[in-house]
Amino acid sequence: MKIIACYSNKGGVGKTATSVNLAYASAMSGKKTLLCDLDPQGASGFYFRVKPSRKLKKQAFFKDVDCFIGAIRESDFDNLDLLPANMSYRDFDIFLSRMKNSRSRLKKALKAVGNEYDVIILDCPPNISLLSENIFRVADKIIVPVIPTTLSERTLEQLYEFFGDKKYQRKKLLPFFSMVQRTKKLHKGTIVKLRKKYRNFLDKSIPFSTDIEKMGVHRAPVLTYARSRPAAKAYEDVWNAIQHKIKL
């Protein structure tokens, strides 16, 4: 079982779209996949038409493994299950900080379902919190969508600094470019600059695309309704690159 976290400390970078499409690509490649929607503002569940779980109360989450397992929903696609978000995760960080040994809870919960899945993808909230720190520890790889702009450059730098300060394994971070517009000079320049600075940047990137924006209309991964379009192809390429990196 491999745990892949999709994380960014900046919002609006295409994190949920990435999680949804990579989870779908993983399932289509024959891997039994679980997508955990840990972002209360995220919409992974929405894209799969899965309603937020009423069962999954914050007190029970991670604490009661049975409850965690019971909240998993099968998607409409083969090999792909979903742990829907719950609005009460909002206070989750506070809850976690109060609990003893809270850092091992996430690991414990994921371990319980680990045998069932080949890949677990975590769609993470866009902040650095106790939950995120838990994720940094347990994930095998942390994929970071980066829009090639100056602001994103700054946030990525902060993330690397944070990893350095906390002595987390920096090699876990797998940044890749998201919402790329090749026509923009700034994008082009930033891509060249960042690739030089961070050697483990994935060489595949996701373009800015209306097909991705239409996910909200279709309520499905891009790969299902625009399979032959560049955006879908890009997600497949990114997934293949990740698979290669984590030796799946």
Binding site: F48, R49, K51, D76
Partner: protein, 505 residues
Amino acid sequence: MAPFVFTLSSGGGLKKIHRRLEVASSYDFEVTGGDIIDGIILDTFDNEIRRSGRCLLQISQTLLLINILNGEIVEQRCSNWSFLSELEKGPVAGSLKGVSRLRAFIPVSGIKIRRDRVLVLDDEGKTRVRIHWFSFFRKKKSLRLGITQPLRGYEHAHTELRKLLVEMHAEPCTRTTDIYSGLGVNSRNYSAKPDIRLVPEDAIKNSATAIICAYLDVAVQNEAGIMADYDTEFLHDYRVSFRKIRSVLSLFKGVYSAEQTEDLKREFADLMKQTNRLRDLDVYLLDRDDYFQLIPETSHEGLKIMFDVISKRRKEEYKKVCKIICRKNYRHLIQGWSELFASTDNMKIGPDALKSSNCYLARSITRRYRKVCKIARTIDHTTADEVVHELRIHCKKLRYLMEFASPLFSKKKVKTLIKSLKVLQDNLGKFNDYSVQQVSLGMFMSEQSMSRKKGMKVAESIGALTAMLYQLQCRERNFVMENFSHFDSEKTRGSFAEIFRVKDC
């Protein structure tokens, strides 16, 4: 949560059924309908698929395997195939793993099929349950099979749907025969090892006749398959049945009159002889890949020539056997035996005919077991091969006696004993096969005229092969003593004494 596998004979068409379900629930039913197309139900002759609670259908170039017991449906593309080994890798081939690779898949019946897929959707358009409908049509009969597919996390919706279906008189389907009988398909009930009902206190002459009668029937059931040449197991089962009949005649001494026993033994032996060659050639061809693996690639050319000749010979022998089965005098012979063994009164009885079956067989088995042990204990590294062959024959006789007797004693315990004997028998069987193969390979060259160049190549391959077979034979021989020591253990001896001890004998 397990899928619900059911048949639904009432309720009208699918449209009507879904409308009723929609009204009774809060869900929408999205149907992807199919056309009615021709298909074939396939199975092996001994019904491995049906017996395992599955149904295999070929629809044009697609294979569909439905597991009635757990609701699993798998499918894959296929081209011309008869044997599992000829099927490309895929979900159906994967699920059929474990089914005999020697058995051909043959049509059970032609049917018409319509397949519909249904998604049971909630108000968000999310699938909560899937339903697979199979509508089968054959002659004037039809049957609708439904399989629900619950989705993780939506168990409640599945329970609700199942309840509604039961209210609409859906009947749980638990056996493949439910489908067969619903469509009026005559299912074969073939078994190479028929269930023979014997009574322990009954006279042994009745038991012997019942066993012969049952195996005669098995042999006859295989005739059509031999003629159609579906697979080699038909001839194999046919020959084993006659071998068992001959064993009854020779092992059940004193049950029938000596004169009649001799006559029958000769008649059966004469018939068996005529199929010996075909079986030998079948075995060669079945082991073809193993032979190629035994010798280096440089010697493969000669082996290829040899197998081409064997294939040709096999065709000729097959024609001969078919002719025999078609002959009038063969039919008369079988008819005559069927009438003769239909009642014990037709048989001239011997001095032991009226002994009780359990006493007679218990004694025979005990005597035979002692004989096997006596011979086996004398075997060491210096013993002549003939003695090992003799041991093999006695083991075979013991095995048959135990198999015949198993309905009269504790079936389970006898089966365990047979299992322990089987290890030794397999070992001795291999020893014999390697030895026979060396002899027949030696004869191959003298029987076949071929050009000097070809002859050289074949001779080279046969030489290499014979050397390998000799090595293998020696290896098997070394295992005999070890395997026998397991069979001669105190525990096995105790089991024989316990199982085959009959009071008042």
